[in-house]
Amino acid sequence: MRMLVAGAVLRQDAANTAMDSMSGDASLAQPSAATSALPERTGPPDTVSAMETGYIVATVIFLAYIALLMRRVATVRRSP
């Protein structure tokens, strides 16, 4: 719903800009600040950082356990 509203604002603003350009007034032809504050969002959300965090944490857990096992094995091997 928000995306549709944002899109409608963008389209309305683009129409106003085009009309101002036709009227020849350069100062009115500049896009308003409200347009850049409401970008039209398309596609899935950006969750790359969450994915990377998950893979890093999983790697750390597995490697930490392997290190623990290696340490135990080394301790047993050193014993007489």
Partner: protein, 239 residues
């Protein structure tokens, strides 16, 4: 039967010399690393959730191995130990519990990160998450119980009972998404119908299952070898 049991019980653990580097763990790590690269770089992202959906290739294989496989091995080995009293079965059971605990930790952590991105919260007290946390605590209590008991026979017997009971929780955890209303989605792979995934995602998942299974059994094997060497050393010290 009693004679056999007592003979097995009395037999000292014989430890083979442990290699400096476990080749199976190395191969498993390379396989899992390859799957990570394929999943993150060459597998399409979900249209709704985005890149975080790729945690599926860590979360689900870890859940299948840490919950279904590890708890089944733990219960079968524990149950057989109660029957024939072979120390090797006790070592298999303790290895399955510890490795399963590690895999289940990965499940809970990756699930929380995924949940934050898709539900807006790291944790919700909903049936699937809560029951999985119960199983995590049960495996933790299994390890704490083993550490608390000095006598080897009593430790093996009591922990075997707990191991068998842990398996009873697994079907309940599986059914929570059908029995209760919650946030967790229903199974995509472990269901009577065919998996509901595109082929390119399914192939990555298949490779992830192979790599994680390799890692699971490599860690089980190393943990078992260490337990055998530990028991052999204890036997030498007692002699």
């Amino acid at each position: 039967m009693m004679t056999t049991a007592s003979t097995l019980e009395a037999r000292p653990a014989t430890a083979r010399r442990l290699p400096p580097v476990d080749w199976l763990v190395l191969v498993a790590l390379i396989a899992v690393g390859g799957v990570f690269v394929r999943a993150m770089l060459y597998t399409p992202a979900d249209a709704m959730l985005g890149a975080v959906q790729r945690l599926f290739y860590v979360h689900v294989p870890s859940a299948i191995l840490g919950m279904y496989v590890a708890c089944t091995v733990l219960a079968i080995a524990g149950g057989l130990y109660l029957w024939i009293k072979d120390d090797r079965l006790d070592r298999v059971a303790e290895s399955a519990a510890e490795v399963g605990f590690v895999f289940l930790t990965v499940v809970l952590v990756t699930g929380s990160i995924w949940g934050k991105a898709s539900w807006g919260t790291y944790w919700a007290w909903e049936p699937r998450l809560t029951s999985a946390l119960f199983l995590w605590f049960l495996l933790l209590s299994y390890m704490v119980l083993r550490d608390a008991i000095e006598n080897r026979e009593a430790r093996a017997r009591l922990s075997a009972v707990l191991g068998v009971l842990a398996l009873l929780l697994v079907p309940f955890i599986h059914m929570t998404v059908y029995l209760f209303r919650g946030l967790h989605p229903e199974p995509i792979v472990l269901k009577p119908e065919a998996p509901s995934m595109p082929p390119e995602m399914l192939s990555t998942f298949g490779l992830a299952m192979v790599a994680f299974s390799l890692l699971f059994f490599a860690l089980m094997r190393l943990r078992y070898q260490w337990a055998t060497a530990r028991d052999a050393r204890a036997d030498r010290e007692q002699a």
